[in-house]
Symmetry: C2
């Protein structure tokens, strides 16, 4: 029941429609995922940053006590990944203002020896060949889930297809599911992806929730209906973090079971709903398990038809 | 526990992305609503058609045995409302090819004397002044819900605002909620509308489900995850028909109660999921209560987090 996440840690600049913005805040898929997962249990983090990585961001990560950052490589002479984006209109669309790959264009970090026995593996968004390489360093995975993005679907399709044969599940956005499969319906797109290897696909729809397409069936969950959305950055990564964190903590005999995953997705839904209430990891940093539990119960009641 | 629906019956021509299309099929908000509601109990229909209304369409309506069509006026010398539309891409957007108002530009039908004691009233999409007029003919409403559309928000805003003071609930699409309120978030938009009178607002999101914004709280439900969507026409009207049909049939002491409405919305969700499986009322005409019950149970399991 050891959970590991590999991916990116970055320095983000985010503009929102309200006029509010933040420059140089902590971001990256790994940071968001790990912070979310840490509410459920320990989480091992593998990522690389440059020597420009601010001490303040390290301290923010350290506030999440169950993150094991032994896999955070600080590479001298390199620069941290930086991303700037601007959210449009209703927060469901954004444009990238700049993307400085920096260290992401170099060799990936190694998985520390002490992390290789991790059983729950989340390969956050990176080049799929690197995801496969990182996965290859694990000795005893029980559940492997990968995220991806439009960039790799467009530029590394073969590597992504090869990765799909090695994972239990894939998590991706609605538009990306269509992009990869050419199918405009998320259920049809999900089934298409299942044909390439995975046992399940989670199609993320942002404010509209998520759909689980699984060999055992299909399920849909709404997002928690949030009234005040400040910054959606990290919603998808914390969704995955809550889902995988819950799975690793409960460690069921079959973590890829349909009903088990469906319930785990609800935990991801709730963590993500907190993430978007303000910038970066600020909301999660002040969050308590009680508050998460309250909202989870409210959500469960909201969708209960029993 | 008598349910009435006022609105339009039309003759539709529909083009879909698959290349399939249908010309001159039965359509209109009243037809869709009444067909859906009739699975739950009797439903009274008030609408006007011209003397060109095809006998075949009358027979299709008659297949729904619990529709009381005593309020269907066939006006000699008038022509039936006709609409043609084309669905784009992922079915969530459509463009109107033609709209021939015909009889909708004339005086509305009268509510038959025998229908004036209806307790559950659904004012399907029409000019809000006509909706108010029809409502004024009812002697003892217990629950009044109205639908509206972008056209009236743009051209009859004051009439719509006046109507909002007289209804318990409003049903409208996501984009329309934003259009009316200027709020891009559906929960915020819903609350804005509550300030103008209603006890609740249902924001319909098509394939993404619906959000209930109520004085007692907020709830979200996904749509039933359909893989084969042929023609989305009537999804919103049958959603409302299932919701109101269920409410009228169960006739709770407070039909505008939050939890009662939330559960009723699930019935609407299921009926709508059948509607879109083929054109016009074809799927509903062949539907059985058992089949509805099976899908409802599957949906309830799909979202259960207990």
């Amino acid at each position: 029941m050891s959970l590991i996440v590999t991916g990116t840690i970055g320095i983000d600049t985010v503009y929102t429609p309200s006029g509010e913005h933040r420059e140089g805040v902590l971001g990256g898929s790994c940071a968001y995922f790990a912070a979310a997962a840490s509410f459920y249990g320990p989480v091992r983090l593998v990522a690389a940053v440059g020597d420009d990585f601010p001490e303040a961001h390290r301290k923010t990560l350290a506030r999440f006590e169950r993150i094991d950052a032994a896999g955070l490589e600080v590479r001298q002479g390199s620069k941290t990944f930086r991303w700037g984006g601007k959210y449009l209109d209703n927060m469901d669309h954004r444009e990238s203002l700049f993307t400085e790959l920096n260290i992401l264009a170099e060799a990936p970090p190694a998985v520390p020896d002490g992390f290789r026995d991790s059983t729950y593996v989340f390969l956050a968004n990176m080049h799929p060949a690197l995801q496969a390489d990182l996965l290859g360093q694990m000795s005893s995975p029980k559940l492997v889930v990968a995220d991806t993005m439009d960039l790799w679907i467009g530029t590394a399709r073969d590597d992504l297809a090869a990765l799909l044969k090695k994972v239990d599940g894939l998590v991706l956005n609605y538009d990306e599911a269509e992009q990869y499969t050419g199918r405009k319906n998320p259920v049809a797109a999900g089934r298409h992806i299942l044909d390439e290897g995975p046992t399940f696909v989670v199609v993320k729809k942002g404010e509209h929730g998520a759909i689980l397409v699984h060999r055992q069936g299909v399920a849909a969950l709404p997002a928690y209906p949030a009234e005040d959305v400040v910054d959606p950055t990290g919603a998808g990564d914390t969704f995955a973090g809550g889902m995988m964190g819950h799975l690793a903590a409960s460690d069921p005999s079959d973590p890829a079971d349909f009903d088990t995953l469906r319930r785990a997705m609800a935990h991801g839904t709730i963590i993500a709903s907190f993430t978007i209430e303000t910038f970066s990891l600020d909301r999660l940093a002040g969050l308590t398990p009680d508050r998460i539990g309250e909202r989870y119960d409210a959500f469960a009641s909201m969708v209960s038809l029993a």
